[in-house]
Each structure stands twice: as structure tokens, then as C-alpha cells.
């Protein structure tokens, strides 16, 4: 039974002619880590907003088809109930700071206060969340005094502590250095292993290749590829459509043309590349 179920979903923003999403069909299993890739303007953010309930509850426009999470349909549910099941963190960390709190600890508790979590449990959840994302030492700082990468961790943690069933992330590592990115991908992987379903829109294909269970490639509002990272990221379709691909794949493809790469399948991660070249 899929926890996320999208059937024939088409969406058009107000005052636009062409749909931002076209006939999307997507089923995601509980605990699955799905990455969404695609060039700018392909509809990644729109898809995230749709799954998180902001379309149709926040953005108007025309939505057809079925959007279901855990058996409930978005249109029959209010946004404030929906966010209990689906958490959303997005790109710009600065705008995700509530502005109502003076320390990071309070900021992380903001969502829990709103949904009425008792005080002791709230403190425990915030502590755990900070440990998980490696920001325990920032608890007393003002959220505005942090760097972009730190703010992004705070934004991610503020959603994690709400313990949604489905986590929707729209480029949550855009302002992070490579170490920060690796750590955050590690955290997302851990959440998926604990049973949280993760949908992640992201450009960093090398990280996706290592951590995601499945990749969906979006182009012009349509799903053009859907499958395991090793299949999607090595597909010739991807290259023709102007997607970023893993440098390991690029190198191996060049090597294949020169006859150096002997395996039939192209690599997407460093380990696969090393293994292939050492044959």
C-alpha cells in the first residue's frame, strides 16, 4: 500500500497558460527515499507543494486528479491537519525562520507549540532533533545570526521534530558545503530507515546516487523517468534532455567510447566507478 499516491495530477498556476504539472502518476511506499531531479522550471517545487498540500490550499489555480497521503485526499483535508502528516522544508533558509523566536531552541519548538505537544515531550524532541542534525551547540544562538548552511539545518530540524509520516524537501542543501551536504544526506537516509517516507527535490546527483532508493526525473511538468538510481542516472534520455549527470557516469561514458570501460552498465557512484575501472 502506497503512502503517497498521485493519480493523473495536472496543475496550472493562476494566470498561466501551460500547466506546471501534467498527468503525474506517482506511488511511493512507506519508508522509501525518492529523489526528484529535473532542470530549473521542470516542476520540482510545484510537485513538492502539491504533495505538501500547499497546492490547492495556499496557491490557487486549477488542480485535477487525486493527491492522497496515508489514505486522505488533500482537497478533503485542511492545511493545518495536512502538515501533521506531511512536513515541508524548502530552499531559502532565511525565509523559513519564523521570526517569532529569539533562540534556535525556541525556533525548533515553534511548530510543536502550535500543534500542542506537551512541554517535556517538546524539549525531548527538540534535543533529539538537534543531536541528529548536528546543531546541538547552536541552541542558544539567535536564528538570524547563523550562516546559510546552519539556517538550513535549523529549517530541516524544525520539520523533523514534528515527526511527519512523509518528509518533502525542496533543495534542502542548496547553501551547504560538501561536508554539510554529506551529513544532511546521512540524516535523511537515517529518517528513511526509521520508516519516514522522504521525497527530495535536489540537483546534487552524486549524493542522490549514493543515498536514494529511487529517482524520478521531471521535465516540463511530466515524469520522463522513474526507477532505481543506477537505471535513471545512466539513461541516455537524461543526457538528451539536459539534466546534470554524475561525473562518474560522464567519465565512464567517455571511457566506454574509447573502449576502456568494459562493463555494460555505467556507474553512478564512486564505488561503482572504481570497481568498474579496476576490472
Amino acid at each position: 500500500m502506497a503512502i503517497v499516491n498521485l493519480q493523473n495530477v495536472t496543475y496550472r498556476y493562476p494566470l498561466t497558460d501551460s500547466p506546471a504539472l501534467q498527468d503525474i502518476n506517482l506511488q511511493v511506499k512507506e519508508g522509501e527515499f525518492v529523489a526528484i531531479i529535473g532542470p530549473n522550471g521542470a516542476g520540482k517545487s510545484t510537485l513538492c507543494y502539491t504533495m505538501a498540500g500547499f497546492i490547492p490550499h495556499f496557491f490557487k489555480g486549477e488542480l485535477t486528479g487525486i493527491v492522497e497521503v496515508a489514505g486522505n485526499e488533500t482537497r478533503n483535508s485542511s492545511l493545518s491537519e495536512w502538515v501533521l502528516n506531511v512536513g515541508l522544508a524548502f530552499q531559502n533558509p532565511f525565509n523559513q525562520i519564523s521570526g517569532a523566536k529569539y533562540t534556535v531552541f525556541e525556533e525548533l519548538a515553534f511548530g510543536l507549540e502550535n500543534i500542542g505537544v506537551p512541554r517535556e515531550e517538546m524539549k525531548a524532541r527538540v534535543q533529539d532533533g538537534m543531536t541528529l542534525t548536528g546543531i546541538s551547540d547552536l541552541g542558544d544562538r539567535s536564528p538570524y545570526s547563523l550562516s546559510g548552511g546552519q539556517q538550513q539545518r535549523v529549517a530541516l530540524t524544525s520539520i523533523l521534530v514534528m515527526q511527519p509520516k512523509v518528509l518533502v524537501l525542496d533543495e534542502p542543501t542548496s547553501q551547504m558545503d560538501p561536508i554539510g551536504t554529506r551529513e544532511v544526506f546521512g540524516v535523511i537516509r537515517t529518517m528513511a530507515e526509521r520508516g519516514m517516507t522522504v521525497l527530495l527535490a535536489e540537483h546534487k546527483v552524486e549524493w542522490i546516487a549514493r543515498f536514494a532508493d529511487r529517482i524520478i526525473a521531471l521535465k516540463d511538468g511530466q515524469i520522463i523517468l522513474d526507477g532505481a538510481p543506477s537505471d535513471v542516472l545512466t539513461s541516455p534520455v537524461l543526457k538528451e534532455s539536459g539534466f546534470g549527470i554524475s561525473r562518474y557516469t560522464s567519465v565512464a561514458r567517455a571511457a566506454q567510447q574509447m573502449g576502456v570501460w568494459k562493463k555494460e552498465k555505467l556507474p553512478v557512484t564512486l564505488d561503482e566507478a572504481v570497481e568498474g575501472f579496476s576490472q
Binding site: 495556499f58 531559502n92 521570526g99 517569532a100 525556541e106 500542542g116
Partner: protein, 259 residues
């Protein structure tokens, strides 16, 4: 710079530990008594015997005196001079200034008004110095203030410095592309116009994203909200509040009875 966002001075004192509502009522009753009391010397005496000792009790006396010198004294002084010059009361002329008569009566009236203003600003300054904004808002929300209202107040306190910082960034960016910000006044006023667009439209875009972000954290949830910090509200608080309210009623009654 970003760490200091309000008048709040972080200390541990009896005044800090009082419930925020008690402190609002304390500030308001000091102000109301100084206005209602029929007795001429009420305001100066309140200042010396209540406000100043409270600043010591709250362990913010140093900060209070600095604010008094920099903000309260100039404001009260200005009001004193204006009232003394322009109050057309009294016969006993002390001196003439141009066409204006300064009389003994206008001086005494001006002093009374200036002292009331001093007491008013002082009481609120002490309140702000000893009350954390978020504590105040969670306490008031708990007592039934709409969450949206509390959010608007507290986020504007925080967002103003952010907008200032952004304005600085935009100015720097435009200067690096040759915008003149250092010549004559008119020129500089004119060069502010290209700043307005990015600042205002940027802020509007930001509002939409921020709305999404707080919505994603259940801001409009219909659950009963809880609060991270336990805000003390003791019997002592309740007794103080009732006594203060009685005091205000008493001073109002005295005023009506004596006039």
C-alpha cells in the same frame, strides 16, 4: 548586532521573575496613578520612591539611568520648555521671551506634565527591560490574545533589523555599480528611489515564503497551543495585580471626590 533586538536586559531578579501581565499592570498603574492623583507632587514622588527603587529591584538601574539620560530627559525637557512657553495661564510673569510670557503658573503646569511624561516612559522602559518579548507574547496568547496578533507584533520587532540589513546590502550593490550616494542632499534623496523597488518587492516575495514556512509548522492548527517556557504566575502575582487595580481605583476616586 542581530543579537540585540529589544530593550530586554537578561538578568535574574525579582522583577524579571514576575508574570508579564503583572508587570504590564504595574507599569499601567504607575502611569494612571500619576495622572489621576489630585496631589501635585505625586509624579516626582512616584519616580523617586517607586520607579527608581524598582530599577534596583530589577537589577537594571544602570541601563535605566542611561536610557533616562539619553531618551527620557530630552523628551521631558522638550515638553517642559514647550509647555512653559506656550501655556497661556497665570498672571505672575517671571520673564518674557520675545512675545511669550513665562509665568509661575505655566512653569508649574509644565513641570507637572513633564514629570508625568517621565514617569510614563520610565515605567514602560522598566517593563520592557525586565520582560522578554516572547515570554510576554506566550503569556498573553495563553490568556486569549489571538496567535496571529502576537506573531505580527513579535515578528516585526525581529524583522525590522533584517530589513535594515537588506537595505544596506542593496545600497552597497548599487553603489558598486556607480550609484551616487555621497553628494548633495537632493541627489542622495533621488538615489534612494532605486532602493525602494528591490526592498519592497523583495519583502513581499519573502512574506509569501514565510507564510508557507510557518504554515508548514502548523501555525493555523486548531489544537490548543502549548508553550516551551513555563511562565510563572503565582499567588503573589495575583495579589499584586489586585492591589494595583485597587490603588488605581482609589486614586481615581480621590480625584473625583476632591474636585
Amino acid at each position: 548586532m542581530h543579537e540585540r533586538l529589544s530593550y530586554y536586559v537578561k538578568r535574574d531578579s525579582a522583577l524579571h521573575r514576575l508574570n508579564p501581565l503583572t508587570k504590564i499592570i504595574l507599569a499601567l498603574s504607575i502611569i494612571l496613578v500619576s495622572f489621576f492623583s489630585p496631589w501635585y507632587w505625586t509624579a516626582p514622588i512616584l519616580l523617586l520612591l517607586v520607579v527608581v527603587p524598582l530599577s534596583f529591584l530589577g537589577r537594571v538601574s544602570k541601563e535605566y539611568f542611561i536610557t533616562a539620560l539619553r531618551l527620557i530627559l530630552p523628551a521631558a525637557g522638550f515638553i517642559f520648555i514647550m509647555q512653559a512657553l506656550f501655556q497661556p495661564v497665570g498672571e505672575t510673569i517671571i520673564f518674557k521671551f520675545w512675545f511669550l510670557d513665562v509665568t509661575q503658573e505655566s512653569l508649574s503646569f509644565a513641570f507637572r506634565i513633564a514629570m508625568r511624561i517621565t514617569v510614563m516612559i520610565s515605567a514602560f522602559t522598566l517593563f520592557l527591560m525586565t520582560t522578554h518579548p516572547s515570554e510576554l507574547m506566550s503569556d498573553l496568547t495563553r490568556r486569549g490574545l489571538p496567535g496571529q496578533f502576537a506573531y505580527v507584533i513579535i515578528s516585526s520587532l525581529q524583522i525590522l533589523p533584517q530589513m535594515q540589513a537588506r537595505a544596506q546590502t542593496i545600497i552597497a550593490a548599487q553603489r558598486s555599480r556607480g550609484l551616487d550616494t555621497e553628494s548633495s542632499f537632493l541627489r542622495r534623496a533621488g538615489s534612494l528611489i532605486p532602493l525602494v523597488g528591490p526592498l519592497v518587492f523583495g519583502s513581499l516575495v519573502e512574506v509569501e515564503e514565510r507564510a508557507i514556512a510557518i504554515e508548514a509548522r502548523g501555525f493555523t492548527s486548531t489544537h490548543v497551543k502549548t508553550s516551551l517556557h513555563e511562565i510563572p504566575d503565582t499567588d503573589v502575582d495575583r495579589i499584586i495585580r489586585w492591589m494595583l487595580i485597587l490603588l488605581v481605583i482609589l486614586s481615581l476616586a480621590l480625584r473625583i471626590w476632591l474636585s
